[in-house]
Subunit: 153 residues, 2 copies
C-alpha cells in the first residue's frame, strides 16, 4: 500500500485521467484487432472468429450459449458469425437431441486441422505487445477488475 494519494488529486486531473484511460482502452483494443487481422489473414479468420475457434479447440463441441458466456457475446453477434464459420466449412451445427432449442457447435475436420496453422499466432502477438510477462499479468489483472466492476454497475 502506498500513501493514500496525498494531494487529493484535483477534479480536472481526474476527468482528464478518465478520458485518457477510455481513449487508451479503445485505441489499444483496436490496435490489437489490427495486428490480429494481419496475423489471421492467412487463416481466413477475423479476430472474433478466432476467439470462437479458440474456445472450440480448447473445450470441444458445445452449445452457442456456453460459447457466448465465455466470450461475453450474445446470439445477435454469434449467430451470423457462426453461420460464416459454417459457410467456410470450419464448424457444423447440430440440434441437440435432449433439448431441441439448443444447437451444438462441432468442429469439422478442416476446423480441427486449422489449429495447427494457428499455433504460431499467439507468440507473434505476444512479441508485438512489447511487454514483459510480469507487465502482461498486471495488465490482465487490472483489466479483469475493471470489467468486473463495470459489469456490476
Amino acid at each position: 500500500m502506498t500513501r493514500p494519494t496525498s494531494p487529493p488529486v484535483p477534479d480536472a486531473e481526474l476527468l482528464r485521467l478518465d478520458h485518457q484511460v477510455c481513449f487508451s482502452l479503445h485505441a489499444a483494443s483496436r490496435a490489437f484487432g489490427s495486428v490480429y487481422r494481419d496475423a489471421l489473414k492467412d487463416l481466413g479468420l477475423t479476430y472474433p472468429q478466432y476467439l470462437v475457434m479458440l474456445v472450440l479447440w480448447e473445450h470441444g463441441p458445445q452449445p452457442v450459449k456456453t460459447i457466448g458466456e465465455q466470450l461475453r457475446l450474445d446470439s445477435g453477434t454469434l449467430s451470423p458469425l457462426l453461420k460464416r464459420l459454417e459457410t467456410a466449412g470450419l464448424v457444423r451445427r447440430e440440434r441437440s437431441a435432449e433439448d431441441e432449442r439448443s444447437v451444438t457447435i462441432h468442429l469439422t475436420d478442416a476446423g480441427e486441422e486449422l489449429r495447427e496453422r494457428a499455433l504460431p499466432v499467439p507468440r507473434r502477438m505476444l512479441a508485438a505487445t512489447g511487454l514483459t510477462v510480469d507487465e502482461l499479468r498486471t495488465l490482465r489483472g487490472l483489466l479483469g477488475r475493471v470489467t468486473s466492476a463495470l459489469d456490476d454497475a
Copy 2:
C-alpha cells in the same frame, strides 16, 4: 528492473496469458462501451460520438483529419459519424477557405450547451471502474505502451 523472470515461463503459459490479455482487453473495451451507453443515453450520444464531442469541446473547431488523428479513426468511420452528429444538430460542417479539400467541424450552440449536461459523465465512469487513481495511471501507461508497440508492428 526485476529479475529476468527466472523460471523461463513455459510456452503453454505464455500462450494462455496472451489469450487472457486479449480476451480481457476485448471484454473490458466492450464493458466500458456498455456503461457509457447507459451514461450517455440521456444525451443521445453513442460512445464514439461522445469521444468526438470531447475533442471538439476541448480543442474547438478543427478539420476531420485532426479529429481522426486524436481518436485514431479514419474518414470511413468519421464521415458517417459526423453526418449523424450534424443531423442531430450538434455540429456544423464548413469547407475551409484556404484548402477546399478540408472540412472544418464546428460545434453548434446546441453542441456547446450539451457540454454542461455531459460534465457528470466522467466522474460516474471513474467510479464505475472501481480502480484507484494510481491503478488508473498504471493501466493508462501499460495500454499506451501496448498500443505504440502494436502500431509499430
